[in-house]
Amino acid sequence: MTDHEEFRRQVRAWLAGNVPAGDLPDPDTDDGFGAHRDWERRLYDAGYSGISWPTEYGGRGGDVLHEAIFAEEYELAGAPVRITRPAQRFLGPTLIRYGSAEQRRRWLPGMLRADHIWCQGFSEPDAGSDLAGVRTRARWDGDRFVVDGQKTWTTYGRFGDRMFTLARTGEPGGRHRGLSCLVIDMRGAGVRVRPVRQAHGQTGFAEVFFDSVAVPAGNLVGPRDEGWDVAMTLLSFERGPDAGAPVRTRRRLDALVGDIVEAGGSPGTVRDLGDLYARLSAFQAYTCRRVGARLAGEPVGAESSLVKLFAARLDADIVQLGVELFGDERLAERAPEFLDYWHSRAGSIYGGTAEIQRNVVADRILGLPRC
């Protein structure tokens, strides 16, 4: 693997020559998803997919810092959103850790090229904050599992080919015990996908229904009934540092400041902007420290909960300032900021609500007694 600074120069040059000039069409449309899939293939062919994945599965074999450098440059270039993000960040790494040799051979190569779109299937209508409340049932039928139930908030569900699912193989109500991770073919019989329209009018996630879906025994990932541990490993990958996040926050703030400058300034706002700037700077410094700790081999701990809390509030405050200054036009369906507005506000919900994150901090870091 190349030297880090040389790698940064290469990435920057490649992105400068290849990132599409405008936004790609909306990935929630058929055309848009196709365009994003094409983009993923270009990235893959250029060697920029799976930066820290082993080369045998199509990755680049880099380290945490290569991954971070790529993420920074990617966001700085304003490149398209990644429809392979779940696969890259946590589904693939979980399969590398827990999958059998056959499973890794079968599934991993198609992931990075976006030949198959992979979705995460954890959340359910009654298992949101309370993941151990999963009810989707996988009954063993002698030679296969038969799955019944429902998943929700499935990102890119409408275009999904495979779902990495957490389902109950043990007794109902068993909480953390008796769960298993299964890979389900979303194109198979008995699977129904219903796109969910969001407050901003577009889709982007889906509900997925399983009606007696047959899942071969070979699609069980990790030990049967011990899926909770697999799921926790998956979440720890999901919670690894994302060097792209502060860059996105910076772009969000820069865009707002641009609007303010264009509107001729807003004297009462200077201090608010300074506050946001200082917080962005702290976010960058924290991310930098975290990448350093990972590079030094420290395990991922509860810091991602801190990032979720700090960054979600910062992002929400940036978009809120926009609305306070420019009014409701920024929330209108045709406004360029509307998707970012809703998405930033969702930052304190998805991937574990702010309440859950505070509990994690209180339990695991502060050592406070539980209720």
Partner: protein, 355 residues
């Protein structure tokens, strides 16, 4: 921009963690109450100051050849945070960050003054842009920020220009006074140290101390929330308390990173380090404000009593949050910078949704 070198630097090394632990051990004296041990009228405690000098903290940033420890700016951040956590009294930030390195930079002529300062025989202090600073009434040397170059004033040569007032001191063990109005002819111009002016050094040192104070507040509050019971359980089991303390911890950790990052910028000679220092100062003030609010609330009535030490943390934090720039002024400085920077750039667009 992350470089490999930076990223490695920015994860505190094993040595630095060791340094923090040993400083905590040296600075924290459970047998000693910093409030009570100051004289009844809050006089400067020379005995305690000599003890502190003995820890090496005052000369931590002075080169070894000049009698100091020769530590880097990030190392000094580590020590100063522990000093704040232990509420060390007297001009520790002013001496270790500003006056001692200034005396060292002035060369051989000032070597005796430096030696006396590092031994605690003489007190060196500094004032911020409001001309206030700690313990000026006992200081032999006072550093004053000024247009052009910053100045070192020897108190015994200044005579009438050093007008010290201790009227507005906040706590008995930590006295802020109004300093000299200007250097006068006896003042000595100072070079930059680590590429920084005196106010930037003070800002960074005060931010590190303030992070330490906020951390101490939070530690106190966590302990209290574990022990104090109401309704048959520790109050730390109630979400209202848990979530307050978690929020305080989040701000604290990000402020700590910001201070650390700014110190690394200084160590790397980054010309934008003063901006990073200002950002870190705001972050530290945010962290303290959160801790101040949530920790006092967590303690309930007991936090308002003189007997419980919480109020000393609160007052010390308020002191450091007001020195080297009020949060509002620092934010304004940063906001203006952001507006000026953006005015020169092409219009950006917000990022696309991304989960």
């Amino acid at each position: 921009m992350l470089t490999a070198e930076q990223v490695r630097l920015r994860a505190p090394s094993a040595e630095q963690r060791e340094l923090a632990a040993s400083a905590a051990g040296m600075f924290f004296r459970p047998d000693r109450d910093e409030r009570v041990d100051a004289g009844p009228e809050g006089d400067f405690d020379r005995g305690r100051w000599t003890e502190l000098a003995g820890t090496g903290l005052l000369g931590a940033a002075v080169p070894e050849g000049a009698g100091g420890l020769g530590l880097s700016v990030p190392d000094l951040v580590v020590l100063t945070e522990q000093a704040g956590r232990a509420l060390l009294p007297g001009p520790v930030v002013e001496t270790s960050w500003i006056a001692a390195p200034a005396l060292a930079a002035l060369g051989q002529e000032w070597a005796p003054a430096l030696a006396a300062t590092l031994h605690g025989d003489r007190v060196a202090a500094a004032v911020d842009a409001t001309l206030r600073g700690p313990d000026l009434d006992v200081a032999s040397y006072v550093v004053v920020p000024a247009d052009g170059s910053d100045l070192l004033c020897a108190a015994d040569r200044l005579g009438a220009t050093l007008r010290v007032s201790t009227q507005d001191r906040l706590e008995r063990s930590f006295r802020i006074a109004r300093g000299p109005d200007g250097g006068g002819s006896a003042a000595q111009p100072l070079p930059l140290t680590d590429g920084l002016r005196v106010l930037d050094r003070g800002r960074l040192g005060a931010a590190a101390y303030l992070v330490g104070v906020a951390g101490g507040l939070l530690e106190q509050s966590i302990s209290y929330a574990r022990l104090r019971e109401q309704f048959g359980r520790p109050i730390g089991a109630f979400q209202a308390v848990r979530h307050r303390l978690a929020d305080s911890y989040v701000e604290l950790e990000f402020a700590r990173s910001a201070v650390w990052g700014a110190a690394c910028d200084v160590a790397e000679g980054d010309p934008a380090a003063p901006v990073a220092i200002t950002c870190a100062s705001v972050a530290a003030r945010r962290a303290f404000a959160e801790a101040d609010r949530h920790c006092l609330q967590t303690h309930g009535g007991i936090g308002f009593t003189w007997e419980h030490p919480l109020h000393v943390w609160l007052k010390r934090g308020a002191t450091f949050a007001a020195r080297y720039g009020l949060r509002r002024d620092l934010e304004t400085e940063l906001g203006e910078r952001l507006l000026a920077r953006t005015g020169q750039q092409p219009r950006g667009r917000p990022p696309r949704p991304h989960i």
